[in-house]
Symmetry: C2
């Protein structure tokens, strides 16, 4: 069906992903530098216009692959942004997703048809950058969503493809949530969330007691229903 009513002609949907990682104790988000107008040469989140023949989350994943090369990733719905003037070109609604990536197990494609650079940016520095569109806002709400998700989903799973020890993952929780926890209480808290399970294996470091390896459970209700 062709739309001719000017009241709602030429609308579109952006699917935009805030991809986070933790690198050397710093939370970073993946930004790309745009090669096209609008906002040419500005840093932006990975994302773009949804196609007619794909579901929202599939569109988000396609855009991630196109603009960064990242192939498989779990995405979680974050928020919706729809201010009238958020795009200078035409009316665009943004549906935003959150994901986590292991910086060591992917190679980010720096240049594509639509990008001239790609970088993992310190979340604290991003606050002072002037990103394309309303991507500053989107990152802010996605980071808040991330804080909730790490306490109720397996979103951090991919950071530890070979499992993790509890003291190790504690640092990740602390840097994301911006707090510190008592070592012993954190163990109890994390185990009580029913997200992780013992692998039976132990790490062997130098001169210290070996730590048990854990992994995230594959939970059915962890699937994003939207």
């Amino acid at each position: 069906m062709e739309v001719n009513n000017p009241l709602y002609k030429n609308q579109g949907i952006h699917v935009i992903s805030s991809l986070f990682t933790v690198d050397h104790g710093v939370v970073k988000v993946l930004l790309i530098k745009r090669n096209n107008e609008p906002f040419k040469d500005k840093w932006a989140l990975v994302g773009g216009a949804l196609y007619n023949n794909e579901d929202l989350i599939d569109g988000a994943k396609r855009e991630i692959k196109e603009k960064s090369g990242i192939e498989s990733i779990d995405l979680y719905l974050s928020s919706v942004h729809g201010k009238v003037d958020r795009s200078p070109v035409m009316r665009m609604i943004a549906v935003s997703y959150v994901g986590v990536i292991d910086i060591n197990s992917v190679n980010i494609v720096k240049k594509t048809m639509k990008t001239t650079d790609a970088e993992w940016m310190d979340i604290n520095l991003v606050k002072n950058m002037d990103l394309a569109y309303d991507h500053n806002e989107i990152i802010a709400s996605s980071f808040e969503e991330l804080k909730k998700l790490i306490l109720k989903s397996s979103i951090l799973d991919c950071l530890f493809p070979h499992g993790f020890t509890i003291p190790e993952i504690q640092k990740v929780y602390e840097v994301i949530l911006g707090t510190t926890y008592d070592r012993r209480n954190f163990r109890r808290k994390l185990l009580s969330l029913d997200l992780i399970e013992d692998t039976g294996e132990s790490s062997v470091f130098d001169g210290k007691k070996p730590a048990k390896f854990y992994r995230f459970k594959k939970k059915i209700d962890d699937i994003n229903i939207f």
Copy 2:
């Protein structure tokens, strides 16, 4: 700007509201009967296509007014629905909102240009109805959102334009959450949520101790940020 790329030509945004009320101890949702194709003569939630010149929440409110006559209402973002085939006409993304209405303080307009009927439907009966579009799904997720919202926002405020007593509002919480609470523990719980405040007045019923009147606080962070 005119869109010609068939990949994302002719997309649109639905703004759809699940308006709940509690009537004689039953949770009800406002449905309208459609007068136009698609889904002519089917029951549906109030909502429609977003205009280019209005923000999402303003579009939702305009649609509510157009299709039910309800003028002022607080809306809260609920969910996003974007399956490829959710509209038979063209590609439509639905942004869904939740609101609460006092059934006694509004007159629902039964017939409009686009509707032939309007009715407050028992939420339990709605589960077995075959609504237009994916509105069954939307109601389900909106009702879940409502359950969260009554514990952290003033969404129930409009149900009690002249204030409420705690035993009175307890029944509303119980029917929405599908539980019962100990009278005395509920009082403490509700007061600890920091949502309500004493008005200084008391109700006067027959032969019983008068109950204090409370009202919802006007909180700044209660504003919907999306």
